[in-house]
Symmetry: C2
Subunit: 149 residues, 2 copies
DNA sequence: TTGCAACTAAGAATCATTCTAAGTAAGGTC
DNA sequence: GACCTTACTTAGAATGATTCTTAGTTGCAA
């Protein structure tokens, strides 16, 4: 964590360590606002701008990835390896899809989808319903998620 | 055009016809702001809210599609048939990719990328460089595009 | 220990989008 | 063709996400 920052030429600060700690191992692809909310608990003086600045720095250095999978705020992903995503139409849940992701991406990179367009990477977004929302009796809306379950 | 609106139960207004006319046949996937700018020329009294309301209505009725391919404003696409997109890293250009789109999408729909997730649709986004930007001597930045070439 | 460049805090500014309220007009009915 | 209802439009305020600015702070190399 500490070394990862230093290796990128970024200074190690409590704010950055806190943000990285929150992000790493969090599979929910949180937004900047969500992260800020959680981080305020351990670092009450933290500024919103710091969260954005830090996430921008981490993204630039390849320590995390910014993903715009639906309209609304950008989500941040600690998993920078090539992979796809499944997005729930109903509750907005984002799930990493590792299966075949690499193979598919590398195969597609060799495609020429449009004359002259040189492909650097391919990402696939699966849209549909997550397990919770697909279950007839327990649809989980955004509103329900906010009130806690 | 006129019939398409009526068929959806939408009233035909000069604003809606102008918006649809701008959108149909425009392959550049314009944003609401871009459309508003062009539409002001023919309908100077048009309100921004009308553009958003109308685009929302058209999207809901399946006459166009809202696409979030990168961070920034939503782009609107008159092509509602299933297809993929190529996005230029450099200038932001969005290109429709029809090749194999249908076949790939339907094949992927049968996949089970995540346990329990029921896939409704798949979209692929190719990232890389467009012809203009890939050419070593004539990179086209957003700034250059705005000043006109 | 010191110096400085990079970082952070606070809040204003900006941009995209949605909401609200009041007036307008499309289109069905008589 | 006139009238009426309801959907639509306008204008501008409100909201939410993100970026910018400025001044003060701190990590870390020397």
């Amino acid at each position: 964590m500490l070394d990862a920052l230093r290796a990128c030429g970024l200074k190690v600060t409590p704010q950055r360590l806190a943000i990285l700690n929150q992000l790493v191992g969090d599979p929910t692809h949180p937004t900047a606002t969500e992260l800020f909310g959680r981080l305020r608990e351990e670092l009450p003086s933290m500024s919103f701008a710091t969260v954005y600045n830090t996430l921008a720095a981490l993204t630039k250095q390849g320590l995390c990835a910014a993903r715009q999978l639906e309209s609304g705020p950008v989500r941040f992903d600690p998993n920078v390896a090539p992979h796809d995503h499944a997005v729930c139409d109903s509750c907005g849940l984002v799930i990493d899809v590792m299966t075949e992701g690499l193979a598919a991406a590398s195969a597609a990179t060799n495609l020429k989808p449009v004359q002259g367009f040189s492909v650097r990477s391919v990402e696939r977004i699966y849209r549909g319903r997550c397990v919770q929302c697909a279950a007839p009796n327990e649809p989980q809306t955004d509103a329900e998620k906010e009130t806690g379950d």
